[in-house]
Symmetry: D2
Subunit: 338 residues, 4 copies
């Protein structure tokens, strides 16, 4: 940690600062610059928040040298983590695709799409039973009924399922049905929820928040891992920027970056990431060659009549076409699709 | 609602679209433009989400005319709402200040600051018992112990208290102690939490999310009001932008804007909004003349030793100075501070 | 164009508005909604700016239906434009790569890299002679000397060259040497410069501004085309967002989007787009499969000693490796690299 | 400057790095941390760009300690700069208002507004003769004719004038007429233009770019000052963010911040900053108490018929009302309006 002091720091403030650092267990090295004095404080204290040092009179700023995450860091497991979701592996050379409707709407819709996905070679089935919606007047999901339908689709097709957990109160319920717990973008910093899923034995897919930096995203994963659950998959799904021509701005550099910083698998959701059906295929392909370990794709048997997110859902023929192209690229990347 | 169709729309697609709109209860008016056909669909259906119409083949885009919120809209109560928090009124010509430490740390700290705030003329006391922290290794708050200390401080000084509710599981606990429930920026779209506080009789302070538009912020308030609780205060606390010189970018235009769109009181938190102690006073003053109905200010008896957010906390003498200047401006605005 | 009126519009205001629209040559269609009256104004007036209608008393907002660009729109040339830069074609099924150092530094550096690029299969040579730098104290380029060295490198290797034009005053000079004029991101809305290059017979590469929407980018291209030059290539090079882990956020969705809106070729600059050497290869690959028609890549014979942008420059062996992988993907996309 | 090295740095790389730093004239201090070695490099070299050090093998990142600007820094002139624009002073305790139409449209319009502004107490007259417009088909200004009308209005009313310089080619022309040269947001990093106005004897008003950090804005001012012109006024006019309810997000914290970093006066343009007439008054007031040294306000005698920016222009009665309220606040701030 580097502590930069003000030009006007008094001797007394300086003494006080040095004492404080020693109290905290740091060894200090002073560098007398041309205009300012700088302290190098040595000691691995990354489990403590040292932003408070900025409050000490005479301190201008505090610059951390070590990254604030530890368990999720690439160093902790250089070979990379493989997460197995009901038989579909992601990370460590494995590539997985989970596809399905934004929301589970009814039995016919779900079974039709599940059979179609199976046939097209999807690894797993995605579908929302609890839906976070901007408006209280929008369709909010079928809740437990939706979970049961997902389980039925799994039983019939063999596809493992992923569904979102929105509230702590529904943890047991969702946990009972799903093969992997999805934490949505809006809940990326719902720390109570992160801790709770960190205590489960099910894998967790953690979507990046709309306004989250890669570092904050990794810190959210650190919350989960710090409770003992190391089966975490990161999911890039677009960030919010000034551009309104797409629903979000899909940040594919973040995929390559997260994979270099962390050993966790990273998957991409080009459906939410773009919000436009015609951009799903090119962005899915781009995700593969950018290094992603999997995809989440919204597919609806009849997008024109979807209760939510139809404008970004593929129909089954489009998804089949996507799988053909994705397969080719995954092979080219030297990964195994499953 | 305006539906713009593609240039290439077929007759069949056109028929299908018109049927669909009629099924939904709209009266349709067709406008034949130079290049495109446009439909004006008339009917107040704002409680339904019509984004799905964009999925219908032949539709290019759907443009809503009415705002998506109803209960929070200014029209619903043109004279404005006054919310009373344990005797401190905000909105409808009243201005309230809640000040205090980011986190309740211990009895001495809290009582010292509470007495000081009372003396300086603060309306109420703020303090976190449950703290949302980016790192799992940072101080997370004193939890129930913190709530008890807040209640003690209230008993001793008469200052009503505000504290944050982070998780549904702590609702009863927080509700028992606080005078107004604070929903933090990270939970602005935690819809389960919004619905739950919407069923309480305590007022709710709803912070704007880091990446939330004014419209989404008002929709979050609509979630609360749609459950029956109309005592909602909006709080602007900065948004996330490309600028890194401040912790967030305090969006004071949003204050004036939210007040024109909605009848709810709007308060400002310049401490989180800027993240820098020396910017708190100018931004607090700016908030008053921009039309805010109150302020949330972080004050710590000894910012240099604060466990969190010390770099943006005022000490008591600074807060006293702020109150003098704020008082003058509130009077100039024709409002009553309390 | 749709004009939404205020609920409180008076009869007089209404009459005045309708008159105004007729004066402007529109046919008007009135839609009486539940709460508001809406006017559909028909007539292709996209060459006029109608934002002023929002000033007319009683008007709430004006919603354009047609896109504001005309010459660059896909409709204007559905088959797509191919731009030929000294023999290297981009667009219409052709893919071109221009590589080279951020800045031309000296004869040895440039010739070394030019021979290396030729050998690795680069289509052309990029290099800055005039450099836009944030600090007045940074290296600003070799100016005319740099242009002469680029010409020498072209003469020796046969590679056509691209270099940036920063100021109108250097137009003739740059034009004399370059095969395609580059307009940098900071000048995307330097309208005088756009008009001037629109009057040249050389092709123009137009970088997207840091904070430009896709629509504004296309409007900037419209400026060039409206002066008669239709040989325009669009270049995505990253936008500015809250994320600081990368220099910019490379927006690959914008590539697919711009290609659907416009007939112009779109190329990608992953060097500036990410600012990090290790992200250049994955993002270059992603650009190809997202639909790009070419790449701009920073290559330096000795990045550790580059005078600018070394942190995002590949060395020659890295570039050779990139070309091998790019070739494979371009072929897979059914395009011809040249 | 702090140089953080990789964990994997070899001895050879380390030697090479230290040599390099010494070559550049730095004294080096090594800090051996728990995981990484860090070098403190001492020497005031802020006139050189040291980002290139990040390219040296073994270097992870370079952290500058000193700010990159020198001439504009507060330290260089702690008492603050006062700029005199034809008798209207800004900075150093003086507050100035320049108001007028977005674009000069015709003689009647300009003279009517100029007399009205004079009567309402405006310090100076603003008006565009050359207009930067997103669309090539929008009104582009009256050019020299507009400058002549501005000069006539000045002669008649005594109000000094400000107008924008867009292109180097128009420098002499604009310089002949204006009392202060305005550099628009889109040209904030048009470095050729900055250098050129840096060689004039007229003061310069430098608008902040849409996507410019406060540091980049100050660096742009450094370009002007480095050529010898120290009469620079900074102007905050809103930045681009995800929020679309306002045209830009007016960043008032940047005003307080820029004033603490720099000795230059800072003014605010709430008209462009918000894009909405009804937000101009509250944001103008907020700017005053946030520490601004002046205002730029768009006023049009008949906003409903303005050729540009009417939706954000005040009419004369609104401006008179604004001046009354602004006067009161300026006095309260202990400044002198002129």
């Amino acid at each position: 940690m580097i502590i930069v002091t003000n030009r006007e720091i008094t001797n007394e403030q300086w003494e006080n600062l040095c004492c404080k650092l020693e109290e905290c267990g740091f060894k200090t090295h002073v560098i007398q610059g041309v205009e300012k004095k700088v302290i190098g404080a040595v000691g691995d204290k990354r489990r403590i928040d040292f932003r408070f040092l900025e409050n000490i009179p005479g301190v201008e700023k505090v610059i951390p040298i070590l990254s604030p995450y530890k368990l999720v860091a690439r160093d902790a497991k250089p070979e990379g983590t493989t997460v197995d979701v009901g038989g579909v592996k992601m990370g460590g050379g494995f590539f997985g695709v989970f596809a399905g409707p934004c929301a589970v709407e009814n039995r016919e819709q779900l079974l039709e799409v599940a059979y179609g996905l199976k046939k097209a070679g999807s690894g797993g089935l995605r579908g929302g039973a609890f839906k976070p919606r901007t408006s209280p007047y929008s369709f909010q999901g079928l809740e437990e009924e939706g979970l049961k339908l997902l389980a039925e689709a799994r039983a019939k097709t063999g596809l493992p399922i992923i569904t979102e957990l929105m509230n702590l109160t529904e943890l047991d319920l969702v946990n009972e049905y799903t093969d992997i717990i999805q934490i949505g973008a809006r809940n990326m910093q719902n720390f109570g929820l992160l801790r709770a899923v960190g205590r489960q034995s099910k894998p967790v897919l953690l979507k990046r928040g709309l306004a989250a930096t890669v570092e904050e995203w990794l810190m959210a994963a650190e919350y989960i891992m710090s409770e003992g659950n190391s089966q975490v998959i990161l999911c890039e799904r677009g960030i919010r920027t000034f551009e309104t021509a797409t629903r979000n701005t899909l940040d594919l550099s973040a995929v390559a970056l997260a994979k270099s910083f962390s050993h966790l698998p990273v998957v991409v959701d080009p459906s939410h990431g773009t919000g436009k059906r015609r951009l799903v295929l090119p962005m899915a392909k781009a995700a593969v060659v950018a290094g992603a370990d999997g995809l989440l794709i919204e597919v609806h048997p009849d997008p024109a009549n979807a209760l939510s997110d139809g404008e970004q859902s593929l129909d089954l023929p489009e998804f089949e076409k996507l799988m053909v192209q994705i397969n080719e690229l995954v092979k080219l990347e030297g990964k195994k699709i499953n």
